[in-house]
C-alpha cells in the first residue's frame, strides 16, 4: 500500500503550450496529484477521468490522459502499477459488436439497393421529360447515320413504316410516333433508341424469311420504346456505377464498369422477357400473330451454335431457344392477317440495293 502511494517522477505537458516539464506524481485513493519538482501543485486528476495512453518503454512507465483536460499529456516513470488503478474499459468487445452490426447493416443496405435498383430506375426514367429522351435518341441515330450508309429504298421504307404504325397502335398514345432508320450493315441486329427511334440493320432483313419475322423483331423493339427500357437501363447503369464506387472506392471506373456489365446482363434479361411478351401483344393486337417471332427466334437458336457469324442480336438477346419456347407457350390462336403483301416484302428485301426497283 505504501508502494502505491509513493511519489513517482514523470513528464507533463499541460496541453496549452508545447513545453514539457518534470513533475512528481502522487497516487491517491481518489486519483492523482501532479506537482512540479518545486512541490507546486499543477493538477489533480480523478481516477474516473484517467485514460490509458500506452507505454513509456524507455522509462518502464505508462502514459496517461485525463478526460477533463483532453489536451494534457502525462508520462509516469516506473509505474506499471498505475495500470491497476485505471478503469477497465471493455473496448475490444464493444468494437467487435459494432463491427458486426456495421457489416450487417452495410450488407442489408447494399442488398436493398441492388434489388430496388430496377424499380427505382424505371421510376426515374418515367420522370425524364419525353422531349429530352427524344432528342437524345435522335442524336444517337444521327451519329449512326453520319458514319454508316443509310438504306433509302423508298417503297421498302414505306412498307416497314406502315408495319410499324400498325404495331404501334398498341403503345401508349404519347409513344406512338416512331422513326425508322435502316442502316446498311451486315449485323443481324436491331436497336431501340430512347424516345422513339428504331434502327434496323440490313443483315437482319437479309436473314428474315418472311415479313412476319421482321414484324416480330419490330414488336419486341417497340415494346422497349413504349416502356422506356433504354432510359431506365442508362439510369440503372449509372446507379450500379455509383454503388460499385461507393463500395470499392475505385473511381477509375474499372470496377464499376465490370460490375455494371455483369449486373446489366442480369437486369436486362427481365427487360428482354418483358419486351418479348409486350411484342407478342402488339403482334396479336395488329392481327399478325406471334408465329413469325417464334420462327425467327428458332432460326437465331440455330445460329447460336455456329461461331464466326455476325449475330449481334444474339449478343444482346441471348438464349433465343428458351425465349422462343417461352413465347410459344403464351401463344394464343389469333386471326392471321399478313404483315405486308408480296410486292411490299420484295421492296423491303431490296431496301439497301443501290438502285431500288
Amino acid at each position: 500500500m505504501t508502494e502505491l502511494r509513493a511519489d513517482r517522477p514523470g513528464r507533463f505537458s499541460d496541453g496549452r503550450s508545447a513545453g514539457v516539464r518534470k513533475v512528481v506524481v502522487r497516487v491517491l485513493a481518489t486519483g492523482m496529484e501532479i506537482r512540479g519538482i518545486d512541490g507546486f501543485l499543477i493538477a489533480v486528476w480523478k481516477t474516473e477521468d484517467l485514460r490509458a495512453d500506452g507505454d513509456w518503454p524507455e522509462m518502464k512507465g505508462v502514459r496517461l490522459r485525463c478526460a477533463s483536460e483532453p489536451d494534457a499529456r502525462l508520462a509516469v516513470e516506473d509505474a506499471y502499477f498505475i495500470k491497476d488503478a485505471l478503469p477497465k474499459v471493455d473496448e475490444p468487445r464493444r468494437r467487435r459488436i459494432g463491427l458486426i452490426l456495421g457489416a450487417l447493416l452495410g450488407a442489408g443496405v447494399l442488398a436493398g439497393l441492388v434489388l430496388s435498383l430496377p424499380m427505382a430506375s424505371r421510376l426515374a426514367a418515367s420522370l425524364v421529360p419525353a422531349g429530352m429522351e427524344r432528342d437524345w435518341g435522335r442524336n444517337i441515330a444521327a451519329g449512326f447515320e453520319s458514319q454508316l450508309r443509310v438504306c433509302e429504298g423508298k417503297a421498302g421504307r414505306q412498307a416497314l413504316e406502315g408495319l410499324i404504325a400498325r404495331l404501334a397502335e398498341g403503345l401508349p398514345a404519347d409513344r406512338r410516333s416512331i422513326t425508322l432508320h435502316v442502316i446498311d450493315r451486315p449485323d443481324v441486329n436491331a436497336l431501340a433508341l430512347p424516345g422513339g427511334d428504331v434502327i434496323l440493320f440490313a443483315g437482319l432483313i437479309a436473314k428474315a424469311d418472311s415479313p412476319d419475322e421482321i414484324a416480330g423483331v419490330l414488336g419486341h423493339e417497340l415494346t422497349h420504346i413504349g416502356r422506356r427500357h433504354v432510359s431506365a437501363a442508362m439510369i440503372r447503369g449509372m446507379g450500379v456505377g455509383v454503388i460499385a464506387t461507393l463500395i470499392t472506392g475505385d473511381a477509375s471506373g474499372l470496377v464499376a464498369s465490370g460490375i455494371g456489365a455483369a449486373l446489366a446482363g442480369a437486369y436486362s434479361r427481365d427487360d428482354e422477357a418483358e419486351a418479348d411478351r409486350g411484342g407478342m401483344d402488339l403482334l396479336e393486337r395488329a392481327g399478325i400473330g406471334s408465329d413469325g417471332m417464334i420462327t425467327f427466334f428458332r432460326r437465331l437458336e440455330d445460329m447460336e451454335g455456329k461461331p464466326g457469324m455476325l449475330t449481334q442480336w444474339l449478343g444482346t438477346h441471348p438464349e433465343a431457344g428458351a425465349r422462343a419456347a417461352a413465347i410459344a407457350a403464351l401463344r394464343r390462336p389469333a386471326p392471321h392477317l399478313p404483315s405486308m403483301d408480296e410486292s411490299q416484302w420484295r421492296s423491303v428485301k431490296a431496301i439497301c440495293s443501290k438502285s431500288p426497283p
Binding site: 508545447a18 513545453g19 514539457v20 489536451d71 463491427l99 444521327a142 451519329g143 455509383v242 472506392g249
Partner: protein
C-alpha cells in the same frame, strides 16, 4: 530546461510485425465488409505509423477516426463525384452523336477533375495535419486548397512548354507552399528552399531521358528491321526490345532520378525551420533506391496488401535522416485554436481509388 540536444530528434520504433498484422486483419475485414472497412483500416495503419514516431522523447499521435474518413467520402461522392460522372456521361452521348460540344465538354471536365484532385490532395493534408498531435498540441495546414490547385495547374501547363525544365522549380514551389502553410500549435513552419542548385542533377535526368528515347527508338528500329527481313519472329522481337529497354531504363532513368530525388529532399529539408531550429537531412541516393525498390517489391508481391509496411519503411527512413539544429522554443508554442475540418479527405479518397496512407 534540460532538453537533450540531439541533432536527430525523430525516431520511428514501430514494429514491422505489428504493422503486417494490422494489414492482414484489415484485408480480412475489408473482404467481409465489401471493402467499406478501408476507412477504419487506414485509420488503424495511421495510428501505428504516427504513434511509432517520437520527437524529443515524446510520441506523436494520430487522432483521426474511420468515421470521419467515411463521412468525408460520402459527402464528396454526392457533391462532387456524382455531378462529374453525370457530366462525363452527358458529354459522351454528345460525342457519340457527333456533336462538336462533346469533346469540348470532356476536356473541360478533365480540367476540372485535375483541379479537384490537386485541391483534394491539399485538403487531405489539412485533415491529416489537424489530426496530428504532439504533447497534446495540434498540427494544422492553412492556405487555400484552390490556390494550391491553381499553382499545380500552372506547373503542369509549364511542363510541356518548357520541355520538362519547369519541373524542379515547380515541384519546389509547391513544396514551399505546403510547408509554409504547415503549422504546429499557433506557429507556422517556414520553408525557404529553392530549386536553384538542383538544376545540375536535373540536367542529368533530362539528358539521360533523352538518351533513353534515342536508345529506345534505335532498338525498335533494329527489331522492326530484323522482323521485316524475317530474321526474327515479330513477337520475339517485341519481347526482346521490351526486356532490353527495361534493363536499360533501370540504369539510364532510375539512377539519375534517385540522385535527383535525394538532392531534392535534402534541399527541401535544409530549407525548413521552426521557431529558431533549422532542419537538415542526409538523404543518400543509394539508401533512397533501396527504400523505393524495397517498397515497390513489397507492394507488388503482396498485391498492395502490405503497403502499410512500405509506408512504415518510409517513415523509418525519413525519421532516421532528419536532423534538427537547435531545439525550438516549445514553451512559446501554444495550442492551435483551429480544430481542422470535421470530415476527412473525402475528395481524394474518391478520386484516387488507390488511397495512400
Amino acid at each position: 530546461m534540460s532538453e537533450p540536444q540531439s541533432p536527430r530528434p525523430f525516431t520511428q520504433s514501430g514494429g514491422t510485425l505489428a504493422m503486417i498484422r494490422v494489414a492482414l486483419v484489415n484485408l480480412g475485414l475489408s473482404m467481409v465488409t465489401l471493402s467499406l472497412w478501408r476507412f477504419w483500416g487506414r485509420t488503424r495503419v495511421r495510428r501505428l505509423l504516427w504513434g511509432g514516431v517520437s520527437a524529443w522523447g515524446d510520441p506523436v499521435e494520430y487522432t483521426g477516426t474511420g468515421k470521419e474518413l467515411f463521412m468525408g467520402f460520402l459527402m464528396v461522392l454526392v457533391v462532387i463525384y456524382l455531378p462529374l460522372a453525370l457530366g462525363f456521361g452527358w458529354a459522351q452521348t454528345l460525342t457519340a452523336a457527333g456533336d462538336p460540344r462533346g469533346p469540348l465538354v470532356i476536356s473541360l471536365l478533365y480540367f476540372v477533375t485535375i483541379l479537384l484532385v490537386a485541391a483534394g490532395l491539399y485538403r487531405a493534408r489539412r485533415y491529416q495535419m489537424s489530426r496530428t498531435r504532439w504533447r497534446g498540441i495540434r498540427g494544422g495546414q492553412t492556405g487555400s486548397a484552390l490556390g494550391y490547385a491553381a499553382r499545380s495547374l500552372l506547373v503542369w501547363l509549364l511542363l510541356p512548354l518548357s520541355l520538362g525544365w519547369a519541373w524542379p522549380w515547380g515541384e519546389m514551389m509547391l513544396a514551399r507552399y505546403r510547408f509554409n502553410h504547415t503549422t504546429f500549435g499557433d506557429h507556422p513552419l517556414s520553408c525557404d528552399a529553392h530549386a536553384g542548385g538542383l538544376y545540375g542533377r536535373f540536367a542529368l535526368v533530362w539528358l539521360s531521358g533523352l538518351g533513353f528515347l534515342l536508345i529506345a527508338g534505335f532498338a525498335v528500329w533494329v527489331a522492326a528491321d530484323a522482323a521485316s527481313i524475317g530474321q526474327m519472329d515479330e513477337t520475339v522481337a517485341t519481347g526482346l526490345v521490351v526486356v532490353i529497354l527495361l534493363m536499360v531504363s533501370v540504369i539510364v532513368l532510375a539512377l539519375p532520378w534517385a540522385w535527383y530525388r535525394a538532392g531534392f529532399y535534402r534541399r527541401l529539408a535544409g530549407g525548413l525551420s521552426f521557431q529558431g531550429a533549422r532542419f537538415a537531412a542526409d538523404f543518400r541516393t543509394a539508401r533512397l533506391i533501396r527504400l523505393v525498390v524495397g517498397n515497390m517489391l513489397i507492394s507488388l508481391f503482396s498485391l498492395g496488401i502490405l503497403r502499410p509496411w512500405a509506408a512504415l519503411r518510409t517513415f523509418r527512413y525519413a525519421c532516421s535522416a532528419i536532423q534538427v539544429e537547435g531545439v525550438p522554443d516549445f514553451d512559446a508554442i501554444h495550442q492551435n485554436t483551429e480544430t481542422g475540418p470535421k470530415a476527412g479527405e473525402g475528395l481524394i479518397s474518391v478520386l484516387d481509388g488507390a488511397g495512400e496512407f
